[in-house]
């Protein structure tokens, strides 16, 4: 018993470090000592999933659940293995349904359940599942992307596009784009005190960018104001203000600052970003948004999300083929960009290419669930509960 526990702990440690082969080996060593420990099978399922060996993952997760039907991490691995393998939607629906019972607050289970329903063409049930996910977490971007796809199928692009944009704004990647354009680094672990920032333009703007990234809008506003008091025609300071207003849902103030900034520096990427986002939010300004995002793509063409923003504007202009090209470029630049994948799925649907659309949605789920790292959360909760008992 003690030997098995040691081998399991070793396997766990190796798996957490990402040493997949060594961890698998350690799991088999643990299994050699006894095969009735669900954690070993669950761990193996997770490792097989990481290596994209879906059939093996299904087999191990199934064994784990047979031993302990309350092992939520194994359900997660099993559901993901079914979905990533494809063509097993009926089994997938059952697993996600089960997991949503075992772990009712697990948002991803509802999102995945919805996608499994949709793949099995149970559209109403799918929409219900995504709505349930959004009840649990109103900021769940993938549920909103899926609802946008469902709206496209039922009502067409004009009604679906606002949902795509809404999902995009829930997606943290949009803010990341701004900070990448701005070139700010990691947020400090202490609050920024404007009074202590070196009294130079560069230091103040740098600190204002960090304060914005840390959601400290007051500090950012103070620092930007100091810069503007010395030079009201500073385009970078105006662009930071435009972003700060954008974050406060003050679109007109943001537009005013971005307009002024661009009148001083027509190629400033951060100001182009803010103006484009403001335009994209307004019905009727898709042409304007596309124009701004084309300018931004010239300045920051290596950023996947710039092409995604452009593509969304092109969808609004009914230029589906151009949108598809822009989305493809976005996916090429960042294969893990969920927003680009869903957008590409939408443009495939406008061209009647349903299988390709379904594939992109599956890839989006693949990257999104990999990023979430939910397995360890559920695994640790399970181990913790076992320890309590």
């Amino acid at each position: 018993m003690a030997g098995r526990s040691t081998a399991l702990l070793t396997a766990e440690e190796l798996a957490r470090q990402g040493a997949v082969s060594a961890a698998v080996e350690a799991c088999y060593e643990a299994l050699a000592l006894g095969d009735r420990e669900p954690r070993i099978h669950g761990l193996l399922a997770h490792l097989m999933l990481e290596g994209d060996f879906y059939d093996q993952a299904i087999s191990e997760a199934t064994k784990a659940i047979e031993i302990d039907p309350d092992f939520s991490a194994a359900y997660l691995a099993l559901g993901l293995a079914y979905d990533r393998r494809g063509g097993m939607w009926d089994q997938s629906v059952l697993v996600w349904h089960e997991l949503s019972e075992v772990a009712p607050d697990l948002v991803t289970a509802h999102v995945q359940l919805g996608e499994a329903y949709a793949a099995a063409t149970f559209e109403d049930e799918a929409v219900e599942s995504w709505k349930r996910a959004l009840e649990l977490d109103p900021k769940e971007a993938r549920a909103t992307y899926n609802l946008a796809i469902a709206s496209l199928k039922r009502e067409g692009m004009a009604l679906a596009l606002p949902l795509f944009r809404q999902a995009g704004e829930l997606d943290p990647s949009q803010d990341e784009l701004f900070f990448s354009l701005l070139g700010v680094g990691a947020v400090p672990d202490h609050p920024i005190d404007p009074a202590k920032v070196k009294p130079t333009r560069t230091a103040r703007l740098g600190a204002a960018g960090l304060a914005l990234k840390a959601d400290d809008l007051f500090a950012a506003a103070d620092l930007v104001r100091m810069v503007l008091d010395e030079d009201p025609d500073d385009p970078e300071a105006l662009a930071l203000s435009a972003y700060a207003y954008l974050k406060q849902e003050a679109a007109n103030e943001s537009m005013a600052c971005a307009m002024r900034s661009l009148s001083l520096d027509p190629e400033l990427a951060t100001a182009l970003y803010c103006l484009g986002v403001v335009y994209a939010r307004r019905t009727g300004l898709n042409r304007h948004a596309a124009r701004v995002f084309i300018a931004l793509a010239k300045r920051a063409g290596t950023q996947a999300l710039v092409h995604v923003l452009l593509a969304e504007s092109l969808l609004g202009l009914q230029r589906f083929e151009a949108a598809s090209k822009a989305y493809r470029l976005g996916v090429r630049l960042d294969p893990a960009c969920v927003r680009a994948r869903f957008g590409l799925a939408a443009s495939h649907l406008t061209e009647g290419r349903h299988a390709e659309a379904q594939w992109e949605i599956r890839r989006a789920a693949y990257y999104d669930t990999k990023r979430q790292g939910l397995f360890w959360r559920l695994y640790d909760e399970y181990v913790g509960a076992g320890d309590d008992e």
Binding site: M157, D234, E253, C257, G284, L285, T350, E351, G352
Partner: protein
């Protein structure tokens, strides 16, 4: 249009006077600036002035926010028109009898509607006679028949037969769906005038058909 107009609009924003702002917009519109150009020619420069005044400390934060509220009230007067103009062209769409696939039809119908076409959507499981009946009712001269199954795709020939039997050879019948995309000869076999692979091609194809029709009608006159 002079820069003074943008300055006047800016001043109306700062004075929190929506009526004056609308007057400026109407003045510029009556001077001959098209609705689609008002945003760029008037509103955007006024917003730039507003941002500049705030940056320079010419107006305080509260005035800036209140001016932005007035700008919001005026925005609808300067926005380019959202809905496209009615083209006057009616298109009947429907998915063939015994076929319940609706996604492509919904997406294409919505795209055509948004582009200003009068779309009559018959839904799924539509019998050939229903296509004819709707063509007669609406005077449509363009029909798009959707089919996603080989059997129902072949049955599109019955729509063409029905139209021909009733003296409606003038109706342009387009087809859409997987079987037609996979086998371009199938469209000819069923008597279709063209294949619609997707929403953007639908727009291009229908625009071309409508243009050809208009040119022919003009020539006949």
């Amino acid at each position: 249009m002079a820069a003074e107009d943008a300055a006047d609009l800016y001043q109306a924003f700062v004075d929190q006077d929506p009526a004056a702002a609308i007057q400026v917009v109407e003045r510029v519109r009556t001077s001959g600036i098209a609705q689609d150009a008002l945003f760029d020619a008037l509103y955007a420069p006024a917003m730039g002035l507003l941002g500049g005044a705030w940056a320079a400390g010419g107006i305080d934060e509260i005035t800036f926010t209140q001016a932005a509220v007035v700008a919001e009230q005026v925005a609808s007067f300067v926005m380019p028109a959202v809905a496209r103009r009615d083209t006057g062209v009616t298109v009947v769409v429907g998915t063939m009898h015994r076929d319940r696939h609706s996604i492509a039809r919904t997406v294409i119908a919505a795209t055509l509607k948004e582009a200003g076409y009068r779309v009559n959507d018959l839904g799924v499981d539509v019998r050939p006679a229903d296509f004819l009946e709707r063509v007669e009712e609406t005077g449509a001269r363009i029909v798009i028949v959707f089919a996603e199954i080989m059997q129902t795709a072949r049955a599109a020939a019955r729509v063409r037969e029905m139209l021909a039997t009733n003296g409606r050879d003038d109706v342009v019948m387009l087809v859409s769906g997987g079987p037609f995309a996979a086998d371009p000869a199938l469209a000819r076999e069923v008597g279709a005038n063209g294949v619609v692979p997707g929403a953007e091609s639908a727009l291009k194809l229908i625009a071309r058909v409508a243009r050809d029709r208009a040119a022919k009608a003009e020539a006949d006159v």
